[in-house]
């Protein structure tokens, strides 16, 4: 009987959900491969994840719901907060409660902690130690922000206090305490006396396998189309000390930006000259690198569209851990949206200068209780010819939200005047179909007259009759 009930539970929950989200992917940066299924109900969200991380099978599940203004999660969840340069993320399995108001954010968890994976496609945790955590952040009207984080993760204790102040021209932030049993301090100061002039200084402690310290001082100024910046950096990891300096200027003329930067670290000088042109959805850049007498060329750019976005970026980053100072890095990012499915691929450079990648897909499936879901028709934009017309009801009144499919799959909707249009590339008549099941307008509709074809430049008239009022 118990098994039957569990089967009903496992099959019934996704089947009765309004919307399901299915995700799956792989990441060398996060060290895992797996997937997740999330079922959205009006009052709660259930999710289950499974996969392999570092060669081991991992799984996770959670139920998130609201109760008396509190958001409660039972199961696996990442307890991660950062403020004023400090932060900690712990994978937890247990009970998590949080509440956010205009001035206060509050979260607490009780359960177990352990190695976990919180990725866009999989959230798992492993119960290894007894754990508990507490986070409180309070905004004051005078610009003060007070933060407090306390976590017990087995034998590792964290207790950090942060305080920041922000006024019109000044931002000061600092945090200190115990981070995983190690003393910790970070500080940051930004001063912006004018809109076009700012100064910044930071000090950070990080804990990798050993203690890492990084400091920076920088200044930035903008004068019309010209911007200039300069910075000094130094870092120490174990006994390895790395210093660096950079300076640069840029000039913007219309859609073109010309930028030259000078980087010096470990007695090596790197000069990077970039010419970048921004169109509305396109950006292209040409890069010239000069390193110790050698010149190299690179090209980058990107396209940001409704269906696809692609970018190839070159940037110079400071690597104090590997002791290599300033290094040129290249990252790639591709996002593709096909109907209700999003595909993502991106590369990252880790602190040891290794290239890592993350790729995942995520899709939404409308459940039987979500109402009449729209089918997966695609839209097309562009083309110099316009096919259009208007939609009216049996009284000659305009119908808003009528869905009309043009030959080739493009679907358009009528506006409040009953008018619709689509841009097409060819000056040829296109077949026209009214999709009554796709209407955003309420009620049940019947088509009384609709031309079979519509030619560019000639308005068509579609007549409908409402059979059942909303």
């Amino acid at each position: 009987m118990l098994r039957v009930c569990l089967c009903v539970l496992l099959l019934g929950v996704p089947a009765s959900a309004q919307v399901l989200q299915l995700s799956g992917g792989r990441s060398t940066l996060l060290g895992g491969t797996g997937g997740e299924i999330t079922a959205f109900f009006p009052e709660s969200t259930l999710s289950a994840s499974a996969g392999f991380a570092n060669g081991h099978f991992v799984f996770g599940a959670s139920d998130t719901f609201k109760l008396h203004g509190l958001e409660i999660t039972a199961g696996d969840r990442d307890f991660g907060y950062s403020f004023d340069g400090a932060g900690l993320g712990v994978s937890t399995r247990g009970l998590f409660v949080q509440r956010n108001t205009r001035h206060t954010s509050f979260a607490v968890f009780l359960g177990s902690t352990g190695i976990g994976y919180a990725t866009p496609f999989m959230v798992t945790a492993k119960a290894q130690h007894i754990g508990a955590g507490f986070f409180l952040q309070r905004h004051f009207d005078n610009g003060l922000l007070l933060s407090s984080l306390a976590v017990i993760d087995g034998g590792k204790h964290t207790a950090i206090q942060g305080l920041s102040y922000r006024s019109h021209s000044l931002h000061l932030a600092g945090s200190a305490g115990l981070l995983q049993n190690q003393k910790y301090f970070t500080g940051e100061a930004d001063y912006q006396p004018l809109r076009s002039l700012s100064f910044s200084a930071t000090h950070n402690d990080f804990f990798l396998t050993d203690h890492l310290t990084a400091n920076s001082v920088s200044a930035f100024a903008a004068l019309g189309r010209i911007t200039v910046q300069a910075s000094l950096l130094d870092g120490q990891y174990r006994l390895l000390k790395t210093t660096g300096a950079s300076a640069g200027a840029s000039l913007r003329i219309g859609s073109i930006t010309v930028r030259s930067n000078f980087y010096e670290s470990n007695h090596r000088i790197l000069l990077v000259h970039v010419v970048q042109e921004h169109f509305r959805r396109w950006a292209v850049s040409g890069i010239v690198n000069q390193l110790q007498g050698q010149t190299s060329y690179a090209f980058g750019g990107g396209y940001l569209g409704n269906k696809i976005s692609v970018s190839l970026d070159h940037s110079v980053l400071f690597f104090p851990v590997s002791g290599k100072g300033f290094q040129q890095t290249t990252t790639v990012q591709v996002s593709l949206r096909i109907h209700d499915t999003a595909l993502n691929f991106q590369t990252n450079i880790d602190p040891m200068m290794h290239v890592q990648y993350t790729t995942y897909a995520s899709s939404y499936v409308q459940g039987p209780l979500a109402g009449a879901a729209m089918n997966s028709y695609s839209h097309r934009a562009g083309g110099k010819f316009v096919i259009g017309g208007s939609v009216v009801d049996e009284h000659g009144e305009p119908v808003e939200g009528a869905a009309i499919q043009l030959q080739g799959g493009a679907v358009v909707y009528s506006d409040s005047q009953g008018k619709f249009f689509a841009r097409v590339k060819h000056d040829k008549p296109a077949a026209l179909v009214v999709l009554v099941q796709e209407f955003a307008a309420p009620g049940r509709w019947v088509v009384t007259s609709c031309p079979a074809n519509a030619a560019p430049g000639v308005d068509v008239l579609i007549r409908l009759r409402r059979e059942i009022a909303p």
Binding site: M1, L2, C5, L9, G12, V13, S16, Q18, V19, Q21, F40, F41, P42, E43, S44, R280, R281, L304, G305, N306, R337, H339, D340, A342, Y364, Q366, L369, A370, G371, A373, M374, Y377, H379, A381, G382, E400, G401, A403, V411, V412, Y413, S414, D415, S416, Q417, K419, F420, F421, A422, R423, E438, A440, P442, P470
Partner: protein, 154 residues
């Protein structure tokens, strides 16, 4: 086990459609006599959303309240798309070209969408506006239009 089944039935009994906020950005842009622009709508909901875009000219009274009217003949607007279907958690960008032959033009691009329904079954329709102020010079165009309407911003 009875408790588990009870909880499950309780969850199944909430069949109303969840309504999420939708977002539009940017809300306001300023441009010269001719400009190319775009705005993005993000569907924060879990179901697909049909969005239609309509253009209106508008004028402001001294309190800053806008009155919409059909697009003035001095405004030449070319929308790339008049409607779109936005997938769950997706973002769609609408592009346009605008040409203003008057000293200044104030245009609202109104995006309409049905985002859910009330408990009584009444549909909830949301209209978000992307406002374009077009003047001889881009700088302080909105301020000039508001000053011409007798609105003091200080």
């Amino acid at each position: 086990m009875k408790r588990v089944l009870s909880l499950l039935l309780l969850q199944f009994s909430f069949f109303g459609l969840a309504v999420s906020a939708q977002t539009l950005s940017p809300i306001i842009v300023e441009c010269g006599k001719k400009c190319r622009g775009e705005f993005s709508i993000t569907n924060n909901g879990l179901t697909s959303l049909a969005v239609t875009v309509e253009a209106r000219s508008f004028s402001l009274d001294t309190l800053g309240h806008a009155t919409n009217r059909p697009l003035d003949p001095t405004v030449e607007l070319k929308l790339e798309e008049g409607s779109a279907r936005i997938s769950p958690k997706g973002t769609h960008t609408f592009g346009y070209q605008l040409k203003c032959s008057a000293p200044s033009c104030s245009v609202a691009l109104l995006s309409s969408m049905v985002v859910g329904h009330t408990a009584e079954g009444m549909l909830v329709r949301v209209q978000l506006a992307h406002t374009v102020y077009s003047c001889e010079k881009q700088r302080d165009c909105r301020k000039k239009v508001r000053a011409a309407a007798g609105i003091r911003d200080d």
